[in-house]
C-alpha cells in the first residue's frame, strides 16, 4: 500500500473537497468514499441520479490494423462481435486461466479500441498486454490524460438529447457542455446511465455543469461507498475481491464472457481443461436473515456445520435492508436456495444462496 504522500489524485480532487467528501485510499488513489452518506447516495442512484468520479480507472487505446487480433489473443471474450460504437465486458487471464483484470472494451473506430481497466491494475495490465501480445499493435496508456465521470440513475437519460439515440452498451463521440467526449451508455450500478470520458483538464467543468443540470432531478455526488453497495446488489464482481489471479472466469460464473470458439487466447488451454473437468468451487451470491450483522470479506461460509468457503464481498444492502454478499463455496453447496451460515465474531448467522443478481432489476 502506498503512503498518503504518494497517493494519486484525480483532476476532481478539489471538487470533492468542495462537495464535503471523506477521502480514502483506493487502488493507489485518494478517492471520495462518501459525501452526504452512503445510504443517501445509494438511494439517489436507484431512484433519481448520482454523479461519480471514475477518473482513477485506466484508459488504454489499442490501435492498428491488428488491434482486433491482438485483443482477441489477450482477452477472453470475442472482440470480433463488436461493431463500431459497441461495448463489451471481458476478462484478461494469465496462462493458468486466473483473472488478471476484468475490463470493458469499446470499439471506437474499425481498428481503434478504448479499453477501461481497474485503477489498481493499470501498470500491471499495461506491461502484460505489451509483453504478451504476439502481433504488432499500439497499446497506449492514456490514463493520466483522461478523466471519467459516471452519471448513473433513472434520470441520467434526461440530461442530453443524444441519449435517445445512444443504446445500452454503446459509445459515441459527443460534445458535453462544449467539451469533446466519448460518452458510453454503461455503468457499474445496475441503473441506466452514462460514462463520460474527457480530457483531464475538462473534468472540473463537466463535474460542476452536471451537478447543476441535475439539481432539478435531486442529483447527489456519490463516492466509492455507494459504488460498492450498488454494484454488489447487482452482483457485479470487483477485481481484487471477487476476482483474482487465483480464480478463473468459470469459477466466478462468468463463462458467458469467455469465447471458446474464437481460437486460442491467453489462458484458453487451462480454461478448456477446467470446463471439461468441472469447477471445484463457485462464486455465489447470498442474503442474510434480518437483524444479522453485515457480512464482510474473509468471513467463513458454512454448510451443514462445516466450512465450505469464504466471503469475498459483503455489505448491508441499502435497498433490501439485509446483509448481502458473494463468496466462493464448494460446488456441491453452490446451488440456489442452499441454506448456509456465515460466521461472524464466533457466532453463526443464517443465510441463503440467491440467484444473481440479488436485486432483481436492470436497465
Amino acid at each position: 500500500m502506498r503512503t498518503a504522500e504518494t497517493l494519486k489524485r484525480t483532476p476532481l480532487y478539489a471538487a470533492h473537497l468542495e462537495c464535503g467528501a471523506k477521502m480514502v485510499a483506493f487502488g493507489g488513489w485518494e478517492m471520495p468514499v462518501q459525501y452526504s452518506g452512503i445510504l443517501a447516495e445509494h438511494t439517489a442512484v436507484r431512484e433519481r441520479v448520482g454523479l461519480f468520479d471514475i477518473s482513477h480507472m485506466g484508459e488504454f487505446l489499442v490501435a492498428g490494423p491488428n488491434a482486433e487480433r491482438a485483443l482477441n489473443g489477450l482477452l477472453t471474450n470475442d472482440v470480433t462481435k463488436l461493431s463500431v460504437g459497441q461495448a463489451q465486458y471481458t476478462l484478461m487471464c494469465n496462462h493458468q486461466g486466473g483473472v488478471l483484470d476484468d475490463l470493458i472494451v469499446y470499439r471506437l473506430e474499425p481498428s481503434v479500441y478504448l479499453v477501461i481497466v481497474n485503477a489498481g491494475n493499470i501498470e500491471k495490465d499495461f506491461v502484460w498486454m505489451n509483453t504478451e501480445t504476439t502481433v504488432s499493435v499500439i497499446i497506449g496508456n492514456l490514463s493520466d490524460r483522461f478523466a471519467a465521470l459516471a452519471l448513473q440513475g433513472p434520470a441520467a437519460s434526461k440530461f442530453f438529447d443524444f441519449s435517445a439515440t445512444l443504446p445500452h452498451f454503446h459509445v459515441q463521440r459527443h460534445q458535453v457542455f462544449d467539451k469533446d467526449c466519448w460518452v458510453a451508455r454503461t455503468g457499474y450500478t445496475g441503473e441506466d446511465g452514462l460514462e463520460i470520458f474527457c480530457e483531464a483538464a475538462d473534468a472540473p467543468h463537466l463535474w460542476r455543469m452536471l451537478l447543476a443540470k441535475g439539481e432539478p432531478f435531486g442529483i447527489k455526488p456519490c463516492g466509492l461507498g455507494a459504488r460498492d453497495t450498488l454494484r454488489l446488489e447487482m452482483c457485479y464482481p470487483l477485481h481484487g475481491n471477487d476476482l483474482s489471479e487465483e480464480t478463473t472466469p468459470l469459477e466466478a460464473g462468468l463463462g458467458k464472457f469467455v469465447s471458446f470458439d474464437k481460437g486460442a487466447f491467453i489462458g484458453s488451454d487451462a480454461l478448456v481443461e477446467q470446463r471439461a473437468k468441472g469447477v471445484g468451487r463457485k462464486l455465489v451470491a447470498f442474503t442474510m436473515a434480518e437483524k444479522s450483522p453485515p457480512p464482510r470479506p474473509h468471513y467463513a461460509i458454512l454448510a451443514n456445520g462445516r466450512k465450505v468457503g469464504e466471503i469475498t464481498s459483503g455489505t448491508q444492502s441499502p435497498t433490501l435492508s439485509v446483509g448481502i454478499g458473494m463468496g466462493y463455496v464448494e460446488t456441491a453447496c453452490a446451488s440456489v436456495g442452499t441454506q448456509i451460515e456465515i460466521e461472524i465474531r464466533g457466532k453463526r448467522f443464517p443465510a441463503v444462496i440467491q440467484k444473481k443478481p440479488i436485486l432483481k432489476k436492470g436497465p
Binding site: 452518506g37 452512503i38 445510504l39 461507498g225 437483524k291 450483522p293 453485515p294
Partner: protein, 126 residues
C-alpha cells in the same frame, strides 16, 4: 461537533453519564459522524462483565465494523433494546435515544481517568 458538558469521555470516543453508581454509555457525536450510517449494533449481554479499556460491543456501518470499548469496569445492568431494530438512533441521537448500555460500576474512581468535555473537544480537534 456536539460535546455535552454533563458527560465524561473516553479517548476511544465513548461517553459516560453518571447516575449514582450506574454509568450510562454511548458513542459520541464525533464517533457517529466518523462511522457514518450505522446499520447494526451488537451490545453486551445483560449481566456480562465489562472491563475498562476492553472491547465490549460492536457498531457496524455500511463500510466497516468498529469495536466499542467499555469506559469503566462493572456488570452490565441494562442495554438499549431499541438499537436492534433502529441502529440509526446512534446517528440521529447519540447522547439520547442512541445510548448503548448501562454498567453498575465496581470502581467509580475509574471515572477520574476519563476526559472532561473540554479535554475531549481538544482530543478530537474541535
Amino acid at each position: 461537533m456536539n460535546v455535552p458538558k454533563n458527560l465524561k469521555y473516553a479517548k476511544t470516543h465513548e461517553w459516560v453519564r453518571v447516575e449514582g453508581d450506574i454509568a450510562v454509555v454511548g458513542i459520541t457525536d464525533h464517533a457517529q459522524n466518523e462511522l457514518t450510517d450505522v446499520v447494526y449494533v451488537e451490545t453486551p449481554a445483560v449481566d456480562a462483565r465489562v472491563e475498562a479499556g476492553k472491547e465490549c460491543a460492536v457498531v457496524e456501518s455500511v463500510k466497516a465494523a468498529s469495536d466499542i470499548y467499555a469506559p469503566v469496569t462493572g456488570d452490565v445492568v441494562g442495554v438499549n433494546e431499541e438499537l436492534g431494530s433502529a441502529p440509526e438512533l446512534l446517528n440521529q441521537d447519540p447522547y439520547g435515544k442512541g445510548w448503548m448500555f448501562k454498567v453498575k460500576m465496581s470502581d467509580p474512581s475509574e471515572l477520574n481517568e476519563l476526559l472532561s468535555p473540554d479535554d475531549y473537544s481538544h482530543h478530537i480537534g474541535a
